[in-house]
């Protein structure tokens, strides 16, 4: 135990502020053999919560599986902690393009709208970095990659935000409600052309993806099911002004339809019922969870068991996730280090591991994009392919760059912001609802971190390094127990590069961050 305490002191040096974690602070005494240990804590936190500070990892290490999983699930928030970007509160009227506008007025509006999109993305990133329930954000991201919509097509950032709220509201709640709300949410109605889907002129875009990607998976429906589903979703429009979805009765096909042998004048609700009654739906969703949280290859037997739990609870997500995270498969050694961290896992994870909280979201977004993941703009309707697709020669070097100088630059920006210095320029003209960093007309340099002057950079680096060394000096050389503990905190498996010749704390940690296995979870 002394070692653990010492380590807490020693490694928490990079954590400037403690994250409150109410569920864990209440000490739960579990017998030592049931404790998940540092290795188990890292596994659970990397998979569910973008990783955590060493301190947080140690706290979790002393819990048993059940308590640790409950702590993650109990912490789920329905309300974000970060203040919403100001444009959200603009009246709907002001967020809408007017028909009688000149070309110049339109162009100006479109610029603002793009900037609102960037602000929304920034808000989500800030939430991922600062929330006390990163698991909530992992779930919202999961649903964003499952029920995809792309801002580049939906165009209105508010509608993407509404969809994000829907994901939040039902993150671990009732899947059937989530499905219903997303299917006829304005973002989806625009994204998959439900607006163009009219009686007599059906558009099958949404119907196909609903069955193929959102609920059943390929091979579990017929072309006729798609055609009939499309008919039942005819006649919906997004009101230009209010942004609400309305049914236009004369454009709705109210004839008889057959979907999965259900016959009648089926509307969207009846079709979604038919989908939910299909046992394949629960299995498909469980498979999606499996490949997101457990391993790239679903275990058919385990999937069936979990799908039964999911169906028996009438599509409640919490019991399913409890069973999934509590399963032996989730904790099994073979499944550890079996996944490649997504850019969000890697970037938000390391920011959280280092306890940095004041990094300008824009700098983080640029990094995420260079690594291949732009939030709100998944590459296509299938979402991010993930897995080995995250690693190409390009993204590999960008990942290395991030883990080296990138993280360091972010730390400097954080240090600067923590010292109360502004990271955005003053005196730029703003429209109501806008924020200075989103002004696309300002001629600030593309690379945010370059905005530090050379002198400022040198000063911050000196200060930062001196502080770090001062704090680490008192502990001297790393002994083998400290080394192993920090290894288990940062790596899901044994490192593959050679350890530093002089294993001072700073060398040792840098080595762990840069070892290829740090990119696995």
């Amino acid at each position: 135990m002394n070692i653990i305490l010492l380590l807490t002191l020693f490694l928490s040096c990079s954590d400037d502020g403690d994250l409150p974690s109410p569920a864990v602070e209440t000490e739960i005494s579990s017998s030592p053999e049931d404790e998940i240990g540092i290795d188990g804590a890292r596994h659970l936190l990397d998979r569910t919560s973008f990783g955590a500070t060493f301190e947080e990892t140690l706290r979790f290490s002393r819990l048993d599986r059940k308590t640790a999983v409950a702590a993650i699930l109990d912490g789920v928030r329905s309300e974000p902690v970060s203040p919403l970007p100001p444009f959200i509160s603009l009246p709907a009227e002001e967020q809408t393009q007017k028909r009688d506008w000149t070309r110049e007025e339109r162009k100006k509006f479109q610029r603002r709208q793009r900037a609102w999109g960037a602000a929304l993305r920034g808000w989500w990133i800030e939430e991922m970095i600062t929330t006390d329930s990163p698991f909530t954000e992992q779930m919202v991201l999961f649903w964003h990659g499952h029920f995809t919509s792309e801002l580049r097509k939906v165009k209105k950032p508010t509608l993407m935000w509404l969809q994000n709220q829907t994901f939040r509201k039902h993150a671990v709640g009732d899947f059937s409600l989530l499905l219903r709300e997303v299917a006829l949410g304005p973002a989806m109605v625009i994204y998959l052309d439900t607006q163009q889907n009219r009686k007599g002129k059906p558009n099958e875009n949404f119907a196909r993806e609903l069955l193929e990607l959102y609920s059943l998976g390929e091979g579990h429906y017929t072309e006729s099911d798609i055609k009939e589903t499309a008919r039942s979703f005819t006649g919906f429009r997004v009101d230009r002004r209010s942004g609400k979805v309305r049914l236009i009765p004369r454009q709705h096909d109210s004839g008889e339809k057959t979907v999965f042998s259900k016959v009648g004048n089926l509307g969207p609700q009846q079709v979604l019922d038919a989908i939910l009654e299909n046992p394949r739906c629960a299995e498909y969703i469980v498979e999606r969870f499996w490949t997101y949280f457990v391993s790239p290859t679903p275990d058919a037997c385990e999937v069936r068991n979990l799908a039964k739990i999911f169906r028996d609870s009438e599509y409640q997500l919490r019991p399913l996730l409890e069973a999934l995270f509590g399963s032996d498969a989730f904790w099994q050694t073979d499944n550890r280090a079996s996944m490649i961290k997504s850019p969000v896992d890697l970037v938000i994870g390391d920011i959280r591991r280092k306890g940095l909280k004041k990094i300008p979201a824009e700098a983080v977004q640029r990094t995420l994009t260079s690594l291949g993941q732009t939030l709100l703009n998944p590459p296509n309707v299938k979402g991010w392919p993930g897995g080995s697709d995250w690693i190409t020669a390009t993204t590999l070097l960008e990942r290395e760059r991030f883990l080296g100088e990138g993280l360091r630059n972010l730390a400097l920006l954080d240090a600067r912001a923590s010292a109360g210095r502004k990271t955005t320029p003053d005196g730029e003209e703003m429209e109501p609802g806008d924020t200075p960093e989103m002004n696309p007309d300002s001629d600030r340099p593309r690379n945010f971190s370059r905005r530090l002057s050379r002198r400022e950079r040198q000063r911050l680096t000196r200060k930062f390094t001196a502080e770090l060394q001062q704090r680490w000096k008192q502990f001297g050389e790393m002994d083998s127990e400290r080394r192993e503990a920090s290894r288990m905190w940062l790596l899901a498996t044994e490192p593959v590069t050679a350890p530093p010749k002089s294993p001072t704390a700073i060398n040792w940690l840098r080595w762990l961050y840069l070892d290829p296995t740090h990119q696995l979870k």
């Binding site: 070309r103 080995s388 390009t394 590999l396 080296g404 590069t497 296995t517």
Partner: protein, 404 residues
């Protein structure tokens, strides 16, 4: 099931492939066309240079139907005056004045211009249409891999290959995208070498699948960087000044890599800004001027270093633009457009039909040449892959010399 290319590259052993020529490693059973492809790549060291004109290049103001009255009716503000354009032979077409640097290429009959390039049921979204162009798919079809990855699938690669694709201008792999392709993004070869060298040594594979993939990509990168550095070390200076534009610098990097003898199948370059909805006259002239200056310098460098015969360069873009100009001195997203092929083995001239301005569909040009005929030319005639799907489905343009 084809054997994984990487396993061969790693094994480096020829014992299991007695049919292959010495010095070659393979990653699949021999298929028809294999040997010719091998020769095309290995002995002749053939390189395809892709130049993406991002944003949708305006075809009508690139290859101008300057004698057609309808052109001037459709474009009262944007039509280029007949006395400035550069006539292409005796016909009714002329190049934009900013493309003057390409005229010597045209006069030497090494510039092929394919007219009216597009595809049925055109899509006017940047994202969707470039995905179609990159993957060689039909309009309503989604393909995961790029058309080059599909065409090269199952082929033997030369021994000293630095990478399948070197992506010089940034951006993603696009036509090169595919799980078996080793593609390397390279902005500055010295920087790449430096960054690759900074990677600590690690094993090149692992029984763990996820780690194995990561280590394989890492090794591809290190190998490419080392191969590039090795070749460049002893390479003589080109002694040619390139334009200092972005595309000029990309052409310089490409020319230096080729002249140094770096072995790769494809180099991808990129010039953005063609989405000319407003103020097109000025912007388009600037872009075409940069493009022509860079490409003609590239050609000069390739000729001087004796490499022009092993280079085939092609332009592509997600779509052309609307026939009629819009209300703000620009053009909106359209359909068909002309594209350029250049190289020492190109038979210069015009290929395909210029779209008829009197026969528009939804105000857009109707394509006359399927874009995949260009790809078929590359696959069938340049790479000698007659059995690849693209060669089978689409007729090549016939714009390469017979000994090519």
């Amino acid at each position: 099931m084809a054997i994984n290319r990487r396993q061969f590259m790693k094994a480096g052993s020829l014992a299991c492939l007695p049919l292959l020529a010495p010095g070659l490693r393979g990653w699949s059973q021999t298929v028809p066309g294999d040997e010719a492809f091998t020769a095309a790549l290995q002995e002749k060291g053939r390189i395809l240079v892709l130049v993406e004109l991002q944003g949708g290049n305006d075809g009508l103001n690139t290859v101008v139907p300057y004698l057609d009255d309808r052109y001037r009716e459709l474009r009262p503000r944007l039509a280029l005056p007949g006395d400035g354009v550069l006539p292409l032979g005796e016909g009714e077409l002329a190049l934009h004045p900013a493309l003057r640097p390409l005229m010597s290429d045209w006069d030497d009959q090494e510039l092929a211009i394919t007219l009216g390039v597009g595809y049925p049921s055109p899509n006017r979204s940047h994202f969707r249409s470039i995905a179609i162009w990159e993957s060689g798919s039909d309009s309503d079809e989604v393909r995961e891999r790029g058309w080059i990855a599909q065409a090269l699938s199952g082929q033997t690669r030369p021994d000293d290959l630095a990478a399948d694709g070197l992506i010089v201008g940034g951006g993603d792999a696009g036509p090169l995208a595919g799980p078996e392709m080793a593609n390397i993004t390279i902005a500055n070869p010295d920087d790449l070498a430096r960054r690759a060298k900074a990677l600590p040594p690690a094993p090149g594979s692992s029984p763990h699948k996820a780690l194995g993939h990561l280590l394989e990509v890492r090794e591809d990168l290190i190998r490419a960087a080392a191969a590039i550095e090795e070749k460049r070390k002893n390479a003589p200076k080109l002694g040619i000044d390139f334009p200092s534009t972005r595309i000029g610098k990309q052409c310089q990097v490409a020319a230096e890599l080729i002249a140094a003898g770096v072995s790769c199948s494809v180099l991808k370059l990129h010039l953005g800004g063609f989405d000319t909805h407003t103020n097109q006259l000025q912007n388009h002239a600037r872009l075409l001027g940069q493009l022509a200056a860079a490409l003609s310098t590239f050609r000069r460098a390739m000729k001087k270093s004796g490499n022009w015969d092993r280079v085939l360069l092609m332009t592509y873009s997600e779509f052309g633009r609307r026939a009629a100009e819009n209300g703000s001195g620009g053009t909106d997203h359209g359909t068909a457009a002309p594209h350029f092929l250049m190289g020492g083995r190109v038979k210069g001239g015009l290929y395909g039909e210029q779209p008829d301005l009197g026969n528009l569909s939804k105000k857009d040009l109707v394509f006359t040449t399927d874009y995949r005929r260009i790809y078929s030319t590359v696959a069938r005639e340049w790479w000698k892959l007659p059995s690849s799907e693209i060669s089978q489905r689409f007729a090549p343009l016939g714009c390469l010399t017979s000994e090519a």
